[in-house]
Amino acid sequence: MKIKIIIALLLYISCVGIQRNKEAVLIKEFIIKLNDSKVSSKSILDNFIQIEEDKDNSLSLSDRKSSIIEIIEKIRDPKIQGNSLFPKYALDSIKNFNIYPLKEYENLSKYKFSGMNILREDAFILLDDKKKNILQYFLLNKEHNKIISFSLFVKTDVAWFLEY
């Protein structure tokens, strides 16, 4: 009986670990490629980003995809000053990819987010090495295997994830 409980506990710990690891691996890979100019913007779009037709959006899907590519290129452009929409930071200063759900570090966010009910489940953040500052925000899809948004639209202190 004890062994069964231990095995169940073991499975649970493994599942939680794997689940957490899944998002961390996805986001870490994305960040590395986002900051690697040798990797084409198109391949980042294809491999990491989820973007679908939206009848409520007056813009075409191809235009929206182009905007993602433009944002990636702006992030990579050293002449562009970064902001919440074009998140830039010195990647070489990151020793550990501290990736956590936003809900665990909500107190570090300087923004009030619209859609907190959704963000509690699907929003993740990259923290600096000392886990004192949020470097970048990510909104994942329901399956947590693709990124829906990696930049913010901020008006004053209120933030939304930018829907591409």
């Binding site: 710990i13 670990g17 007056s58 000053q81 902001n83 200063s93 959704i118 600096d128 829907e163």
Partner: protein, 489 residues
């Protein structure tokens, strides 16, 4: 017997393997979670608020605030304070110093000032002084909204308090006269720079500077204390020591070292570039440097609340004249940029003043619990929010008649209930109201990325082309909007 022993052995083996498995799994999970230990170290400094400053220092703070900072008169709003924090530092010999960060309007972005207040170990108040930091490699030092002083290349100037006030007085007069004449600051009593090549910090960059102790080899006698600078860059707080020669003939600072709570240490070799009667300026004891909170200009959250325009506008007397102001915060100051720049997409909003009543209003997409995304090509419900004490780069004001006021109030009460980044957003709202007042603001559509609408960047540049005249006043000085004043009966 042998079978029992064998069974027991097998049981222990199974249990052992099971625990080993658990151990491996748990340890693997920990590794994958990439968790690092939070750095905890006791430090002798802390962040306090303005209200926590000891009362004996209030005269200096009030002096600066009253004379050079005004929320109601934009032209007088010469200083921008970081209202979020004061850095307090108690050094090893129990001197206490406080640092208040401020910026001067129209100064280059790579310049910041600290007002240093302090008292010695006996509780005796010391002369206040000003430290001016000019950061030549700003892009390396200021990243992600934080300063990393360990990388700084530039100059540090120490100014006596009262001569500096004279400089501010002159600056204020110049601002009033709207002249472009440059003003020279009072001579700093000490000024140092590191000429770029000798900044170091272990683990962060190269250090070409030897430990100051090695200066003994150059026959320079020195002593620690006298001063130090505590920086708080958002993650680590650093205590920076200023090293002075003990030789009275060489009574000046010649090196800066620092150590931070994250374990980094560094040296900043300084070469004097100004007058150096430094011990006249700065007494023994550590000096906290306050580079501000994460953003250069923090915005108070309560200043941008959702409001009911019908209730807010009740305060105005529709039978009387008023003053309307259109405020524009550009994504990048003095630029047509649409998105790039420290202010994101920027913002445009309006202000109405009548007698002692002031209201500042902006047009926003509604903030909802179940909607985390905003798309450029999509339409959302809108809401009006207050924009009090809100940073702007340019403004245009006009006195309006009671008829115009009525029309504007009617428009705001029935403002479009949909927000669309492209078809109707904050800039459209501001332009529409400005034009009801007869300002004749252009409504230029900008097409960039997915954006195809009116941008605060362009609107700001267009207003910048307008000169003040008998009817309109244009302010091109970065400032904050006035606070909300006056309550409705």
């Amino acid at each position: 017997m042998r079978t029992i022993m064998k069974n027991k052995l097998l049981h222990y083996l199974r249990t052992g393997i099971l625990f080993l498995g658990i151990l491996i799994t748990v340890s693997s999970c920990e590794k994958e979670e990439l968790i690092t230990q939070n750095y905890q170290e006791e430090s002798n400094f802390s962040k306090i608020s303005f209200s926590e400053l000891p009362s004996e220092f209030l005269p200096e703070v009030k002096e600066l605030k009253t004379n050079y900072y005004s929320k109601s008169k934009q032209d007088d709003n010469l200083l921008i304070y970081d209202k979020q924090q004061v850095i307090k530092l108690v050094d090893s010999i129990k001197n206490t110093r406080y640092s208040v960060k401020f910026n001067i309007q129209n100064q280059p972005y790579n310049v910041l000032y600290n007002l240093i207040l302090g008292k010695d170990v006996y509780g005796k108040k010391q002369e206040p002084f000003i430290i001016k930091y000019t950061i030549n490699n700003f892009n390396e030092v200021y990243l992600n909204g934080k300063y990393d002083f360990s990388k700084m290349k530039g100059s540090i100037a120490i100014h006596k308090y009262y001569p500096f006030l004279s400089y501010l007085d002159n600056l204020k007069k110049t601002a009033h006269n709207k002249t472009e004449d440059g003003l020279i600051e009072d001579d700093p009593c000490s000024e140092y720079n590191n000429d770029g090549s000798s900044v170091g910090s272990s683990g962060r960059g190269s250090s070409s500077v030897s430990d100051p102790l090695e200066a003994e080899e150059n026959q320079v006698q020195f002593e620690e204390p006298p001063g130090g600078v505590a920086t708080s860059d958002g993650d680590a707080t650093c205590n920076i020591n200023l090293w002075y020669s003990s030789n009275t003939d060489l009574d000046n600072l010649f090196a800066i070292t620092w150590s931070c709570t994250d374990g980094t240490k560094g040296n900043l070799d300084v070469k004097k570039s100004g007058k150096t009667d430094s011990l006249d300026c700065i007494k023994e004891g550590d000096v906290p440097v306050n580079e501000g909170e994460e953003e250069m200009f923090e915005i108070d959250i309560e200043n941008t609340e959702k409001i009911d325009p019908k209730e807010e506008l009740k305060c105005f007397d529709a039978t009387k004249n008023a003053k309307l102001t259109i405020y524009v915060q550009q994504p990048l100051e003095n630029s047509n940029e649409v998105y790039t720049g420290s202010n994101g997409p920027g913002h445009a909003f309006i202000g109405i003043e009548q007698n002692n009543i002031t209201r500042n209003l902006g047009f926003y997409p509604v903030k909802e619990a179940n909607r985390a995304l905003i798309g450029v090509g999509k339409t959302y419900d809108s809401e009006i929010r207050s924009n009090n004490d809100y940073m702007y780069h340019i403004s245009i004001s006009k006195n309006i008649t009671n008829t115009q006021l009525q029309t504007i109030m009617e428009y705001i009460r029935n403002a479009p209930n949909k927000y669309n980044v492209n078809s109707f957003a904050c800039a459209d709202f501001a332009i529409a109201i400005g034009n009801l007042a007869g300002l004749g603001l252009p409504s230029t559509t900008v097409n960039k990325y997915l954006f195809n609408g009116r941008s605060p960047g362009t609107l700001g540049q267009e207003i910048r082309q307008i000169n003040s005249n008998n009817e309109v006043t244009v302010s091109k000085i970065k400032a904050n909007s006035p606070n909300k004043t006056g309550e409705c009966k």
